[in-house]
Each structure stands twice: as C-alpha cells, then as structure tokens.
C-alpha cells in the first residue's frame, strides 16, 4: 500500500504545483486505448478542497511545446450530487494530453484522485442509501475548456456502490478532447432487489477506463477469382455431400418394411404351402416385390 501512497502524493504534488513533467516523460505510443488508474488509498489529508474547486474548474495546466506530437498535462474535475441536490466537487482527473502530428489530440494516462466524503456528505449518502435514490456525477464535455457545451451526467442507484468500501467504475468515452459520455456504476453486478448495506469503509476504490472510438470491420472485398468459386452470389448453400442414408432414408424405410414383410411371408409360406395369400391382379406396383417369391412358391 505504501507505494500507492507514494504515487498518489506524487501525482497530487504534480497537479498542484503544475510541476513540469521532467521526472517521467512517457513516450509510449497509444496502442491500446484503455488506461487503468486505480486509486484506492484513502487520503488522510484534510477534507478541505483542492485549490481548483468552482464548477468551471481547472483551467488546464498545460505546457505548450512548439513542436508537434507534444504532451501536456491536463486536469478536469468530477462533481457529484446526492439525489436532487446541487453538484459539488468530488475529485479530479488528471491526464496527459497528446497532440498528434495530424492535429488530433487524445488523452492518455488518466489518473483519478477522489476526495473522501466529509461527514456531511456521509450523512447525505446514508440518506440516499436509505431511500434507494440516485447518486449522480458529472464531467465537463470538453476537457480543454470546461464545461464545454454541457455537462455529461451519469447516475447510479446509491445502493449499487457499497461493498467493502465504496466501489466505483468509470468508463469515459472520449472523442478527441471531448467527453462523449461517462458510464458510472459499480464494477461488478448490482443484484435486484437492492438491499440496504452500509459500506465498511467510507473510502472509494475507483476504477477508470478511457475509451476511444473503434474502427468498424470493413466489408469483405472479394477478388473475381474467389467470387467465381463461390458460384454466384445469389446461390444459397451449395448442396453438401450427404450420406447415402441421409439422402434416401424416405425410400429406404418403406423398402425395409416391404422386405421385412416379404421375409415373414416367405417364412410362413412353406408351412402353409399352397394356402398362402395369392395376390390379386391389378394390385398397385408396390405389391410386385412380394409377388415374385410367392408365385415361385406356388409353382413348386
């Protein structure tokens, strides 16, 4: 746990002082777009707010590089509300803003620091738990110029959050520097009916995921050659080679029945000798199968 604390304090100092990020400069290429930041450690600092508090929070503390593909630090705040109350700051996201040579900007290395609940907030949250009401959060829709066009709101039934501690899970859908949506909820399931359960620890363990857009699979493009092999496009399923039985079972079953009948007949015939059944004339063709043996018997 110790190292976590170290990281937290490191990040906090970083964000507070807008310290130039000379210590750790990631040159990592954005290969996968998910960044996990786990901030579970309770912050035993004074609950007093971090300097950037008012809703149109944090003017991003960026350092501009003149050249392309630059990185800069950015912060934006998370606000929360209990039921229908007004929003108040609840934590800060900090991330690295990457500017690509083609002009696009993306966020990487998202970190989140959550303010712990004050006593008043704890009381409010307890009320929410009792009334099975909504705990709501919001983010600015643009991280460079908060709040952007509007705030992004998300809410969850408060009873979904408490486990050991208060477990929360953010999925932030980004489009460049715009936040499209945030999906907020418990990291696991939230079984219905929701039971009232108070958390053992009044601290948050937060998981954050950043998602950027994905490419759709292209429509398959076939060369002529393959198409030719496909036997034209309209053709439904080439008739597969089926076994003999699968093909002719409908003929085989009646045939089997007839043969069986014929055999029993033949077995009975010698005993009864001439008294056996004589097929009549004009019988349907199917009778011809047995006529052979029976007439042979008669002739004997």
């Amino acid at each position: 746990m110790k190292w976590v604390k170290v990281i937290v304090s490191f990040i906090l100092t970083l964000s507070f002082l807008s310290f130039p990020s000379c210590a750790f400069q990631s040159d990592e290429l954005l290969v996968d777009d998910e960044e996990f930041g786990l901030e579970g450690a309770p912050q035993h600092r004074s609950p007093e707010p971090i300097p950037t508090r008012s809703p149109p929070v944090t003017s991003p503390t960026r350092k501009r590089h003149s050249d392309l593909d630059s990185d800069s630090k950015i912060q934006f705040s998370l606000d929360h509300a209990f039921g229908d109350s007004d929003f108040s700051p609840a934590g800060t996201f900090s991330a690295r803003l990457k500017t690509w040579s083609h002009g696009g900007q993306t966020l990487t290395k998202l970190r989140f620091s959550r303010n712990s609940f004050s006593d008043v907030e704890k009381e409010k949250f307890k009320n929410l738990l009792e009334s099975d009401d909504f705990y709501r959060i919001r983010l600015p829709s643009n991280v460079l110029s908060p709040p952007g066009r509007d705030f992004i709101i998300s809410s969850v039934k408060a009873r979904c959050l408490p486990r050991e501690s208060l477990d929360e899970h953010f999925v932030i859908h980004m489009e460049g520097v715009n936040v499209l949506a945030v999906n907020y909820g418990s990291p696991g399931s939230c079984p219905y009916p929701r039971n009232l359960k108070l958390p053992a620890k009044w601290s948050f363990s937060s998981h954050t995921v950043l998602k950027n857009r994905e490419q759709a699979p292209r429509a398959p493009v076939f060369t002529e050659e393959i198409l030719g092999g496909e036997n034209a496009e309209g053709e439904v399923l080439q008739p597969a080679e089926r076994s003999f039985w699968a093909k002719y079972w409908m003929y085989l079953i009646p045939l089997g029945l007839i043969v069986m009948n014929a055999i029993t007949q033949a077995m009975n015939m010698p005993e009864e000798q001439a008294t056996g059944l004589v097929p009549a004339q004009g019988q349907p063709s199917a009778g011809a199968v047995q006529r052979g043996p029976s007439s042979a018997v008669r002739r004997r």
């Binding site: 979904c160 715009n178 699979p217 398959p220 008294t275």
Partner: protein
C-alpha cells in the same frame, strides 16, 4: 397386404404434396395480397375538353402525382409520381393532346402525351432569383405556327414551344424587390401583362409583346398604404388587391399603360367589419371573394370599377375557376356545406342573380367541408348545357357530382397515411352479423370438384377461370369476424387530413371512416396536426362484450409547445368515445406496460417542459403508476443539439401545475456529441411488442451464446457535420459515420464503432439482439449494410447441464441494468446494391420463425431478405458444422433475388413505411406497406410449416381414400374367391 399398399400410396402422395414453394406463382397473385392506388389531395384539376377526350380529367396532387382520370368511373388511366422533392406548381393541357406540368419550384417543365402518359419532352428553366411560379397556356397565341406556353418562374418570363419544349424567348425581371403576382394574357391580343409589387408599396406593370418578349411598356405607381398578399385579376386590365392593413380594397387598373388606384374600405361594403381580410383569388371575370375570419364575401366589380357585395355568408365557400360556355360568357360554380348537404350553384359571370344550376347533394358528414371545386360542362340529351363538378373535400377525397348525385368518389386521403395500428375483429358469435358467407354443401363440393379437375389437368379454360375467380373472391377472407389463424384484422390508419380509416386486411375495403373533430381546423386550433395512434384498450378478458379502442394524439400547430389533443375511438364501430383538448404540449408519448382493470393501457405523455402526464386520469391508474414510479425511465433525443438525455420520474408536480396526474422528472444521464464532429441522423429502438422466443443461441460447436435482450437499447447513428449533406458532397476523408448502442436506463454506451468514409442517410432496424443499418460507403462508392449482434457474456457460463438441473444458474435471477454489463458484439458489413427508403423486419406471435428484413427499395418495391444473409458469423469457408447450422458462405454483397420481392410485379408508389403485424399462426406475418399506394400481403419467412395451404385439395384426399377403400374391398373379395377356387382344386 392391401393395407401395406395403401400405406405406400399414402407415403408417395404425401411426399409429392411437399413441393417447396420459394415464391409466388402467377395464379396466387391477389389471393392474400391486395394493392390500392391513390393520388393524394388534388390541388389542381383540368378537364380535357377536346371532343374525343371529354370523359377525362387531369389532376395534380399534394403528393406530387399527376394523373389522368376517367370521368365516368374515377379510374386512373395513367399516373406519374414525381417524388417528394419535385413539387408540382401547375398543370394545364396544351394543343389538346399534351399535359404540361411545371414542377420543382418552376424549374422543370414537362409535357406528357395525354392518352397514354408517355413523356414527350422536358425542359429545364433557370432564372436569376427565387420567385413565384406561374404557368399560363394561352388558347390561340402562336409564334410562327407554334403554340406557346408562358411560364414565369425564378424571376424570368419564358415562352416555350408546345411542340418540343424549346425556349423561344426569355425576359428577366431582376428588380431587387420585385415580387411578380400575376401574369395576364388578355384573350385575343398579343400582349402579356406582368404585374407585381416592388418594395411593398410600389405597383409595377410590365407590358410585353408575346411574340418576341420585347418590353413594350413599364409603369409603376406608388401606393402609400402598401400591399398585402395576393392579387386577383378581375378584368384583363384590372386587378384587385388589399392594402397592408387588410381593411381597404384596391382596384388597380392599368388600361393603356396608365395605372390608377381606386380605394374602397371594406367597412363601406359590409356594415360590421370582422378584422383583416384575405383575398381568395379567382379567375372569373368581374367577380372575386374575400374572407374575413369565418365570413366569406363575394364581390362584383362593375364596369366603372365600382365594387358591390353580392353575397355574404358564414359558410365556408369555394369558388371554381371560370369556365367559358358560349361566346364571351363565363360560368363558375360556388359550393357550400350546410349540415348534411352541400349546395352547388353554377352562375354566369355577368349575371349574378340567376343560377344556371342549383343542386343539393347529400354528403357523408365524415367528409367535412368542401375545399375545392372544378367544373366542366357537357351537352344534355335535350341540347341544353349540363354541368358536372369535381370537388375535393376536407378529408382529401375526390368526388364527381352530376345531376345532384355523387357519381363516384375516391378516398385519396389514404395516400397520406401518418400512422398505422391494428385491431382485432369481433369474436364470432350469434349476435354478430356474419356476411352471407356460408355455402351450402353442394356449392362446396362443386368448388372442390372444380379444383380437382384443375389438379388433374382436366379443366377447360372456362373452368380454370372459374377456379381463379373463386379463389380470389373467397368470401371467407373478408368476413367481419376473427378467424382462427388471425389473418383477418382491422388496419386502423390515421391520415394527414385527420381522418381515421379502418381497412379490412382480407381485401382492403374500408370498414368505417371517421373525421376526427379534434384534428379539424377550428377557432382555437388553426393548424391541427395528427401525430400518432396507440392501442388504448385491447380487451382480452372481456373480448365478448367490450370493444377495443385506439388513442389518437394530435397537436395544434407545428411548434413544440403547441397544446395537444386526444381522441379515443372505438375500433369496431368507428365512433369517437371521447376527446380531450389538453392544456399541455405533447413532446413524447410512452405507452406503459401496465393496464388497469378495464384493460386500458396506461400512457405517459411528456410535455415540452419535461413534465410527465399520466392517462387515463383515474385514481386506479394513478395507484398502479405510483407503485411502478421508481422503475420508469425514459430518454429524449435532441437531434439539432446533439444531446441524448435520460430521465426518471421524481414525484407529483410541484408549483403552479398542481395536477393529480402530473409528475416531475429529473435528468439521470446525458450524452453530448461534439457538435463539430458528430450529428445525430438516426435513432432506432426495438418494437415494444416484439416477442423473443429464446434467449440462447446454439452455435455450431454445441456452444451456447446468450442474446443480450433488453427493451432499453437504443441505436444511434451520427455522421460528421460536413458529411450530413447529400451523398458525394464530401470526400471520404472528411466523412465518417459512428454507430452506437446505448442503454437508455443508465446511459451506458455498450458499443461504439466508426465507419470511416461513410455517409448517411442511415436506415436502420432493431430486433431481438441485433441491429441492421444501411448507409453509403464513399470509398467503395456503394451502399453498405452492417449488422451488429450483441451477446450477454455474464450468462455465458450457464452451459453445464448439471448446473441447470440442480438450479445453480443465474438464468432466472432478475437482471438489473445497474450491474456492469459484460457484453460482446459481433458485426459485419456487406455491400448492397439498392438505396433504401425504409427497412422493417417480420414479426411473428411467438418469435420462433426466422426473420426476414423487408427493404423498401428506391423503386418502391418491398424486398424480403433473409436475416441469415446478414449474419456476422458468415465466413468464407464455413465448416461442416456451421453449414448445418445454416451459415451461408461469406460474400461481399447481399444477393437480390428477383423472386423475393414481396410486392411481386406491383409498385407501392411513394413508399413511406412498412408495418408488420404477427398473425395468430406462428409461421405467418402480415405486412402492410403504405405510401401513395397501399399494399398488404401475408408472408411466411420459413414457409407455412404449421398449416396446410388454402388451396389444399381436400376433395382429392377424400377421393383417394374412397378409391383405396374400394380397391381394398375389391381385392379382398377377389382374393377370397381365388382362395376358395384353389381350395376346391
């Protein structure tokens, strides 16, 4: 032995009858499908007066149809649907053989051959600026033996040759603020007058030589009072206009190029003024009409430009255009509605006091007022003039009146359907009158004998015709009671005119129609708009003694905060049960999945201020609703803003609107699309009443996948702002299309995928756990269709049979959307040749039958495409197991099989929507496509595996059995006899 042979025979017979049918045979057309052709509300009609064609009339309609009708029966000789972006401005007949149409804001002029409707020529006309479009066909004005058509459009006057559409001369009117109002061609002269207003207080008159377009004279005169609205020509060199206050009538004459005004305050003409007036333009010499509120005043202009009131009436009056009768004389008609009758008067223009004709016609109350009238004359048997009138009613129907009777009527309101719902028919019982359907036994046998003859190829051509007509006229299908298979239903449709129709699915006849009073123009509501139809009450428990009803929702005017109006209509009788005019607006209607004890469905109406109002307003409904209050979520899409919001209900309304059934809402989540890069162009949800048979899907290797089935999924498609224009207006690099699957309770984005280089319009359909959408791929220069299927992984470990047996599974536990979803999606894209107007999907009662997509193609046909073609699991070389599962080898484009057009040879002109309704029989779904035309059919996506077809030959079966029994007894006796002989030997 005989039994054995019978068995074999039976087996053979059975297999021979299992002849798989892929599509329709020629003689099956019309058995279960019907097709009706309509035109839309007529906005102009021109009678063909040439000797040979006296029985025809050309009409143009608000659905942009130009058609030639038979005056005797009202049948369509030919018809052209020009499409929604080619609005018809005017029609006329030239040379007695061409129909001239001016359309697309006066930029396209076409001539159609009158007898057969073939296009003769087309010219495109351009001009310097946008303006009114006027079409004028002078009777005997010739330029070098060429008859001409005069068109004023886009600020330019054109003379076009009738023969080949060549522009003979053109003249621009580029005056900055000039608004041309009328183009007048005095008969018998070579002059054209173009009159209009400039800078709102200047009257402008141009005199033009019709032969070469030369400007002869240009005069203008100022009138300090300004002008309002239209002008009405009263004489060839005099027009009437209104001043800007609408209180003074101006008679403007421009004889010999001198413009003179003559003012007449309306208060001088009529004692009591009713506020500002409006001119109703008419082409009758010396007569015009003005309308003040509900009062219509007909005014005559005397030779000295004096005005005198000849009629003042409170009734809605329509005046026809002038009809030249004998030399220099003009006749015109006035028509009014008074109670159950309409009064028609035909007068001569210069003689107001006498009527040429005065008739009263009984008219169905549900046709409303008379909106338009067109008259035509004919010579009676006693050599005097007779008149017939074509009238357009408030419900958009078209009727022909002659000799005080309705000769024919067309329900052209059905060309503009807004919404469709269905209703069951009454249950069959003694009290219900069942149309004379029951045959006697002899008839039945005779019918089947005929069929048998047909089957055995013994039938003569007459017999075949008889069989075909018998099948088509099968009275069984148009019975007014419920049938066992659920094929017979009522289609309840709401038209733009505010009229409800009930159509029988059997043959498409109108069972009843009702003109909704709440959707009619009235003092409180000037522009009512019908919005939607909902099933209000569907009795199951009381099906014998209660009638189902529908809820019709409308609103007053196009603004979002216009007050709404509700009507409740009984679907058996077509009577309005009650109606409500609301104090709040209607932004959204949510049918809730709860019903009260009388089986009325609870509906939640959301107004523009995001308050929710519950209907019905009963204490019982409120108590049911309050129990479920915390489980009701809804979402709103603000397309112009690019924001989707989720809401929940909070409690009773507070504040000034303290109402028992009003509830406050609150915002739970929001998704804000970046305005510069994404614009919402399509949102689709699942159908509320869709039934899913199974959650699990067994895939080839005996694995189970669980479908993610949620009623709260929303498909959203956005495009780049630049790419929201027409196809091809941007480069592939600038355009992309993003598809989202959003959970509407929590606002979670479950899936988000970008198609680069793609563009709208997007048409999509959502069913079960999949969504299919159609868009344009700019890179491949082709249309594409993509499928997304979504599967639930949280249930994926329920594969163990023992777990299922011992009940250790989570399949029955309630699902909460607040749990973190664990879903996977599969998707695939295919090329598709056609552009698409609409997409629907078949739906069946239990959801067992496989699905087909119904694609409304650009050619106004409906194509059925198996969902299997849009399976994301298709691979190039499917394994044996996958093949057995029915996976089709991967191809890059979707096949269009000509036999799978459900509309076979027909076209549903102007196709707008496809509705599918499940029949009671699982294999069958009912399909209703509407546009300008209506089309209905039954579809069986997996063939009718659960019933014998209608034309199954029972008689043949019976006869076979009888013959077999006879053969058995015969062979029995024969064998007995032979045995006896053998024994005696």
């Amino acid at each position: 032995m005989a039994i054995r042979s019978f068995l074999i025979l039976f087996i053979l017979f059975f297999f021979s009858s299992l002849n798989p049918i892929l599509s329709l045979y020629e003689d099956q057309v019309g058995l279960v499908d019907w097709h009706q052709q309509y035109l839309g509300k007529v906005k102009q009609a021109v009678f063909h007066t040439h000797k040979t064609g006296r029985k025809r009339v050309v009409v143009s309609t608000e659905e942009n149809v130009v058609a030639l009708l038979d005056l005797r029966q009202g049948e369509i000789f030919w018809r052209h649907v020009l499409g929604s972006n080619d609005v018809i401005d005017g029609i006329d007949i030239a040379l007695g053989k061409y129909v001239i149409t001016l359309s697309s804001g006066g930029s396209i002029l076409r001539a159609w051959n009158l007898p057969d409707g073939q296009m003769v020529w087309e010219s495109s006309l351009r001009g310097p600026k946008h303006s009114k479009s006027l079409l004028l066909v002078p009777t005997n004005l010739k330029i070098e033996k060429d008859n001409i058509v005069i068109i004023f459009s886009n600020g330019r006057l054109n003379a076009v040759s009738c023969i080949d559409g060549e522009v003979l001369w053109e003249k621009d009117f580029e005056g900055e603020s000039l608004e041309v109002q009328q183009v007048i061609q005095p008969p018998g002269s070579n002059l054209i007058y173009v009159v209009g207003f400039a800078s709102s207080s200047l009257f402008e008159m141009y005199q033009i030589n019709a032969l070469n377009g030369e400007l002869l004279k240009h005069e203008s005169a100022a009138f300090s009072g300004g002008f309002l609205g239209e002008v009405s020509p009263v004489f060839s060199e005099t027009v009437v206009a209104l001043d800007s206050t609408g209180l003074i009538l101006l008679t403007v004459s421009f004889q010999n190029g001198m413009i003179s005004f003559q003012q007449t305050p309306i208060s001088n003409l009529v004692k009591d003024s009713f506020g500002p007036a409006k001119i109703i333009p008419s082409s009758v010499t010396g007569i015009f009409a003005i309308k003040m509120n509900a009062v219509t005043i007909v005014i005559r202009v005397t030779d000295e430009n004096k005005l005198e009131v000849v009629e003042k009436t409170n009734h809605e009056t329509s005046i026809s255009d002038a009809l030249p009768v004998s030399e220099g004389q003009q006749a015109f008609a006035l028509v009014q509605r008074a109670g159950p009758e309409i009064h028609l008067r035909v007068k001569l223009a210069h003689n107001w006091d006498d009527n040429l004709l005065k008739e009263s016609v009984k008219m169905d109350q549900h046709r409303g007022l008379v909106h338009k009238i067109y008259i035509n004359n004919y010579i009676r048997t006693d050599k005097s003039y007779g008149f017939r009138a074509l009238i357009v009613m408030e419900d958009h129907s078209l009727l022909l009146l002659q000799q005080g009777e309705i000769v024919w009527s067309r329900e052209d309101g059905l060309a503009s359907i807004i919404d469709v719902t269905t209703s069951e028919l009454p249950v069959e019982r003694d009290g219900v009158s069942v149309a004379k359907v029951e045959h006697n036994l002899f008839e039945w046998l005779k019918g089947h004998m005929l069929k048998l003859k047909g089957t055995l190829m013994l039938a003569s051509p007459q017999d075949i015709a008889a069989i075909q007509s018998m099948r088509l006229k099968n009275s069984e299908k148009s019975k007014m009671t419920r049938d066992h298979n659920g094929f017979r239903k009522l289609l309840i449709v709401l038209t733009r005119a505010g009229k409800l129709f009930a159509l029988h699915t059997g043959d498409g006849h109108i069972v009843w129609s009702y003109l909704l009073q709440s959707l009619q123009k009235s003092k409180v509501c000037q522009h009512p708009i019908g919005l939607n139809l909902y099933k209000w009450q569907v009795p199951h428990h009381h099906a014998m003694d209660e009638n189902p009803s529908v809820l019709v929702i409308g609103k007053c005017g196009p603004s979002s905060d216009a007050p709404g109006a509700l009507s409740f209509v009984d679907t058996y009788t077509g009577k309005e049960l009650s109606s409500l005019s609301l104090v709040h607006s209607v932004a959204q209607v949510i049918p809730l999945p709860y019903t009260d004890s009388t089986e009325q469905r609870l509906h939640l109406l959301i107004d523009a201020d995001k308050h929710a109002h519950l209907y019905p307003k009963t204490p019982e409904a409120i108590s049911i609703f309050e129990r479920e209050l915390s489980n009701i979520y809804w979402y709103s899409v603000e397309d112009d803003n690019g924001i989707i919001k989720g809401h929940a209900l909070r409690g009773k309304c507070t504040g000034e609107v303290a109402d028992e059934v009003c509830f406050d809402t609150r915002e739970l989540w929001s998704i804000v699309f970046p305005s510069e890069s994404e614009k919402i162009i399509a949102t689709v949800t699942r159908k509320l009443n869709e039934v899913v048979h199974t959650q699990a899907k067994v895939i080839a290797d005996q694995e189970v996948m669980y479908k993610y089935i949620s009623r709260n999924l929303l498909f959203v498609a956005t495009v780049a702002l630049k790419g929201s224009g027409e196809i091809g207006s941007v480069t592939p690099e600038e355009s992309w299309l993003v598809a989202y699957l959003i959970d509407t309770v929590t606002g979670r984005i479950l899936h988000r995928v970008t198609h680069h280089g793609s563009q709208g319009p997007v048409h999509a359909v959502f069913s079960e756990n999949w969504v299919v959408y159609h868009y344009f791929n700019l890179k491949a220069h082709r249309y594409e269709m993509s499928v997304i299927e979504i599967y639930d992984q949280s249930r994926a470990d329920n594969k163990d049979v023992w777990k299922l047996v011992l009940g250790k599974h989570n399949l029955t536990s309630p699902i909460s959307l607040y749990s973190r979803p664990d879903v996977i999606t599969k998707s695939q894209s295919y090329f598709f040749t056609h552009s698409v107007k609409t997409i629907a999907v078949t739906s069946t009662t239990k959801g067992i039958t496989s699905k087909q997509l119904l694609i409304g193609t650009i050619g106004d046909q409906v194509l059925a495409l198996d969902k299997r073609f849009l399976d994301p699991r298709r691979t190039v070389n499917p394994t044996q197991a996958e093949k057995e599962e029915g996976i089709i080898p991967l191809t890059d484009s979707l096949p269009i099989i000509p036999q799978s057009y459900v509309t076979h040879a027909l076209r549903v002109e102007g196709l707008r929507g496809i509705i599918t309704v499940p029949a009671k029989l699982e294999s069958t779904t009912l399909v209703f496509a509407h546009g300008v035309d209506l089309f209905f059919t039954q579809l069986a996506p997996s063939r009718t595996y659960d019933s014998l077809t209608d034309d199954f030959n029972y008689a043949l079966l019976l006869i076979t059995i009888v013959a077999l029994v006879a053969a058995i007894s015969l062979t029995w006796t024969l064998s007995e006899r032979k045995e006896l002989q053998e024994n005696w030997r």
